[in-house]
């Protein structure tokens, strides 16, 4: 087992040393974006200082090095998520959102017809909803939602009926509002049993516990570099080889073609066909460093660490505030990750966040790009606190202190 020491992780992250309003930052917004450790920042700087060049087709040495760095990152991503087909199944996109658009417009537009159904859930992020509405508006598919129960879980009793005519089940591994972890393996079995494929939104899961697309037996996985301690500007779409091979190109341009004439073009083979134009090279280098860093921590350790923090935070929130602060999400840590949405009695999430900012606590108020879910629970917004591998119990101390102050100011 790898060694894990949250204090050491914290020391590795430069931004956590910053002072705001006279206090050291308490960062509880990892569900929005994670803070990269020094090794990630330095890997990108070193890349730009030493070996920056455009990838592919270069003959000179730095061009070879840049290409190796870029392709090396692809292989590392494949190993990290245990992709059965290795790097040949990993497409670099710009973020999770582009990954879902790619699934919808390449796979979806090819394999779905009017009347076919894509089944999502009421707890999806807009990234896994809007592309399907766009496809619906283009070719007439149906977008169906698995309901969320009052206790913040997927309502799966009628799953078999919901799966009727479904070609793709597209579901988040972990909700970015509720923290709910969904039963991905069970859903994969159900989807496959009905002849449907399954896509998993890993944006909130990949940095917080082990990912194993082979064991999960899924068909697509999407996630973002910036949520796994890596850089902005890069995302991943992993697709099972047999599925990838059936997908036409998405964006058109350089790098994704085998030939272009004045009367048409021939797409390239493999993942290249989905990467039009100069790819996010430095970002791939940064993502590789992030994955190396997480790997060294050990994802099972990260998961255990965040579970403990979450359990502690839930207990203390309930004991301290006695109902004045409600957690919008499951209370059992076996069913949830470290994303804690708060509903503070009489205090609007904006005001909660503003008061917390006085304590240098970073939480996010808003609908978290999950408006159907907010409507489901008749909320306009929540104030969301979320953990990362660098989080400590003392972060919860400051959070509680700030929440007290907010209740006092507006009480």
């Amino acid at each position: 087992m790898s060694s894990f020491n949250a204090l050491r992780v914290r020391a590795d992250v430069p931004e956590l040393r910053r002072f705001v309003n006279g206090r050291r930052i308490t960062y509880l917004d990892s569900a929005s974006t994670s803070l990269p450790p020094r090794s990630v920042i330095e890997a990108m700087s070193r890349y730009y200082e030493l070996r920056h060049a455009n990838v592919h087709r270069g003959v000179f040495q730095t061009a070879n090095e840049a290409t190796e760095a870029y392709e090396g990152s692809r292989s590392a991503v494949a190993r990290f998520i245990n992709a059965p087909g290795g790097g040949d199944e990993v497409v670099f996109t710009k973020n999770t959102t582009e990954s879902f658009n790619l699934i919808a417009r390449s796979w979806g537009a090819t394999h779905m017809r009017a009347g076919d159904v894509v089944l999502v859930t009421e707890m999806e992020h807009h990234a896994n909803i809007v592309p399907w509405f766009q496809l619906r508006d283009a070719i007439g598919i149906e977008v169906r939602f698995i309901p969320v129960s009052d206790d913040f879980r997927l309502e799966l009793r009628d799953l078999d009926a919901l799966l009727r005519d479904v070609k793709l089940l597209s579901v988040t591994a972990t909700s970015n509002v509720l923290g709910t972890k969904n039963p991905v393996e069970e859903l994969a079995r159900a989807a496959h049993a009905r002849g449907a494929l399954i896509a998993v939104d890993g944006a909130q899961s990949v940095a917080h516990g082990p990912t194993d697309v082979t064991k999960w037996d899924i068909d697509f996985l999407a996630f973002s570099g910036h949520k796994v301690l890596g850089p902005t500007g890069i995302g991943v779409l992993w697709t099972r080889q047999g599925v990838l091979d059936t997908m036409p190109p998405f964006l058109g341009g350089g790098g994704m073609i085998a030939d272009v004439r004045t009367d048409g073009f021939l797409p390239a083979a493999g993942v290249a066909r989905f990467e039009a134009g100069t790819p996010p090279i430095a970002e791939a280098v940064g993502l590789h460093a992030a994955i190396r860093y997480l790997d060294a921590l050990g994802m099972a350790n990260v998961s255990a660490h965040e579970d403990a923090l979450t359990a502690d935070a839930l207990t203390r929130l309930s004991e301290t505030f006695n109902g004045r602060v409600r957690v919008v999400g499951p209370c059992d840590t076996r069913e949830r990750g470290g994303v804690i949405s708060l509903d503070v009695a009489g205090v609007h999430p904006h005001d909660v966040a503003q008061v917390l900012d006085q304590f240098a606590v970073c939480v996010r108020p808003g609908h978290h790009c999950a408006k159907p879910l907010m409507r489901r629970f008749a909320l306009a917004a929540t104030a969301r606190a979320s953990f990362g591998p660098y989080s400590l119990r003392r972060d919860t101390d400051v959070l509680l202190e700030g929440l007290e102050a907010a209740l006092k100011l507006f009480g």
């Binding site: 999430p349 904006h350 005001d351 306009a380």
Partner: protein, 156 residues
């Protein structure tokens, strides 16, 4: 006074806790207009009773943060009974006050003299908002909505 305390002044908190002119008017005859901030979900509904070029009565409902709620309460208090022209002038001036340029607030009421402050009355309490650019949308929601209502009643 710190920026934070300048944002949450007592007047603001007072209007948040005890909003003025809260409620509804039968519409019609009153005019009803809705405003919505899609980014944060804040919502305001304003009822306008306009007669003889004068805003005889105004009521508001909806939900939102302390800034948006107190700003709409302060607004109703400031415009009630005014001539439509006077209301328009006040709305324009207020939205101006809340405009931030590239390098910070374009107008900073706190640098202005007593005259200026007297002119704004309780509304001056909102001047602290310009130091928090993300909150400006909260403070102006009701005002934009009122403007829209006036325009619906008599296009400018």
């Amino acid at each position: 006074m710190s920026n934070f305390e300048d944002l949450y002044r007592d007047i603001i908190l007072d209007h948040y806790r005890s909003p003025r002119n809260r409620g509804e008017l039968a519409a019609p005859p009153a005019h009803r207009v809705e405003g919505f901030n899609p980014l944060c979900g804040d919502e305001v509904v304003i009822y306008l009773d306009v007669r003889d070029g004068e805003l005889r009565d105004i009521k508001m409902s909806g939900h939102g943060c302390s800034i948006s709620q107190s700003s709409s309460s302060l607004m109703t208090a400031a415009v009630k009974g005014k001539s439509l022209e006077g209301v328009r002038q006040l709305v324009d001036a207020f939205l101006d006050l809340m405009t931030v340029g590239e390098s910070g607030p374009a107008t900073d009421a706190s640098h202005n003299g007593d005259d200026e402050l007297r002119r704004w009355g309780e509304l001056a309490a909102l001047r602290g908002v310009v130091k928090f650019p993300v909150r400006i949308k909260c403070a102006t929601l009701a005002w934009h909505t009122l403007l829209q209502g006036l325009n619906e009643l008599s296009p400018p």
